[in-house]
Amino acid sequence: MTRMDPVDVVVVGAGFGGAAFCWRLATRAPKLRIVCLERGGWVDRSTMPSFRRDWQAASFGAWATPPNTRLKSGEKLQTADYPIDDSNSAFKPLMWNGVGGSTMTWAAHFPRLHPSDFKTKSLDGVGDDWPFDYFDLEPYYDENDRMTGVAGLDGDPAYPPKSPRQMPPIPLGRLGMAAARGFDALGWHWWPVDAAVTSAPYEGRSACNYCGPCLMGCPIRAKASVDVTYWPKAIQAGVELRPHCIVQQVDIESGRATGVRYRDQAGNEILQPASMVVVAGNGIGTARLLLASGLDSPALGRNLMFHPAAYLRANFDEEMDGPVGPVGCMLYSHEFYETDPTRGFKRGVHIQVTRENSLLSMATRLGPPAWGEEAQQFLRKEFRHSMAVLVLAEDLPEAHNRVSLTDKTEADGLPGVKLDYTLSEHSRRSLDFGLDRGEEFLRAAGASSVLRIPLAPSTGWHLLGTARMGSDPANFVVDRDGRCHKVRNLLVADGSVFPTVGAVNPGSTIGALGLKLADGVARDAT
């Protein structure tokens, strides 16, 4: 085994949390030697599918969002994926294993959590309070927005006033204007989304040209994946990013992390000693590595949270935009986001109007029937005439929803990983309520038909909660600074630490949290 020179901090994972953490720490404590190990590589943008005539098919192969689908495709991959046993999970995990993490293929919908999301226990008697509140995190949200570049509109009454958005909102399009009419007819809240997409040139990145398939990577750098936002600046600030390095174990001796062992692209076994280890591999990857490393914490791997999702598809007589523009970035309603005791469940739902997917994507999600004359005629009516409404519910922490290891050793040298996740009655009630409201909205917007999809299994983007943050070591893995209770120089800096998850996409909060945790380390180091 090759032994590298010791470093001050080794970070595992170059996704949103790791990137934000590295950049901030390098700028706040420039004397620290920081190395980031990423299991995958950089993406070559010239290979992105959007340039090809057969671009639609890429979402079933090397650019599929589920790693399991990519692995089964047999295609040459730009990701360093590992299989995930999701046979006992209501939601199937989606992620990108490479530099940039899942921001490479995310929708770039960029909401913040609400202030109430940080206090679900004290406000509503469910979940747990975060160890800090929205306003503690607010300056980091602001900084994360600036680093990312957010297209949006100031003045949303669903949030406390935010710092000015960096760019105007993404145009709503015909679809969004039709949706606005529907919300207006009902008198409900709606607002253009905060999008991590450029609506105008921003810090050397060109403006979005609304090509459509954001989930297959953005070749023009309009979508803010962290390989184009944080990483160039982090590297410039002195962080060493080593791609194609698969960490096998965090070495823990006498209650302290001493470094990590990893396998490089050539298969060499390497020991990287470090004074501090930071893991940022998402709610599955982080739990897998820490469980494999023998971290002693009863809560580790437990309380896996997604955002339970369901959706509606509606047809309109009028022609809409088709598969044009950032698919997840149009408008949303938080009319029902906060708790209303008359609904029969605590917390609320996020209602998001999304743009059309590609023709092939729409064809493959038909059914039943999924084929034959009826299916074809349905698609005829749907394509360029449809509106989809996504309903996200707040997942609450439940110990039995978990990530665990299998007895198998996978090709990457680590133990296999398994998910056990059951949709709770609370989530089911929340989704049903949201679907009812979504249908009400679509009818008000003029839909001629509405199809309910009661559960959307292939939406497991948000991998959260498996190393939660809190003060009690029996129930939480890390403290308010992201430090493991049992190993104080071992940190977690990704969505795993969310004690609760709200009902909105977590990217914005993961980035802000990465900045905040880095400040804590920098403060201790200087």
Partner: protein, 133 residues
């Protein structure tokens, strides 16, 4: 009609909608080697041979496929996906559906500007005031 054409046309019969009819599944150049062999075997086995499937009525063919779909869902889904991928990316079908043949990049696409009436509607939302807690 060959076995393959009968199969493809049962899955995707197309239509005659004017002015842009959708071609049938057999009309876009899909070949047997493009499709998963185990699924094709499942269809012939269920039908009692290729000839039996070819000569069956459209309703009977559809019934055979529904039985295969129920008995071998993974294989059938692989077959359907393979067919749909070729069909809905073919020039004739994309054009008939009103899609664009040119790839998304580098030219991109366009979205209409948000109109004044929509901004006026949003102003009403703004004036409601705080709804967060």
């Amino acid at each position: 009609m060959s076995f393959l054409a009968a199969l493809l046309d049962t899955l995707l019969p197309g239509d005659k909608m004017s002015p842009t009819p959708l071609p049938p599944g057999s009309g876009i150049g899909v070949e047997a080697r493009d499709l998963p062999a185990d699924a094709l075997h499942a269809v012939t086995a269920e039908a009692g041979g290729e000839a039996a499937f070819e000569t069956a009525s459209p309703e009977m063919r559809a019934d055979i496929l529904r039985r295969v779909e129920a008995a071998s869902p993974v294989a059938f889904q692989a077959l359907l996906t393979a067919v749909l991928m070729r069909y809905y990316q073919s020039d004739a079908v994309v054009t008939a559906m009103g899609g664009r043949l040119e790839p998304p990049q580098p030219s991109g696409r366009s979205l209409p500007a948000t109109d004044a009436a929509t901004w006026a509607r949003l102003e009403k939302v703004r004036k409601r005031g705080r709804i967060w807690r």
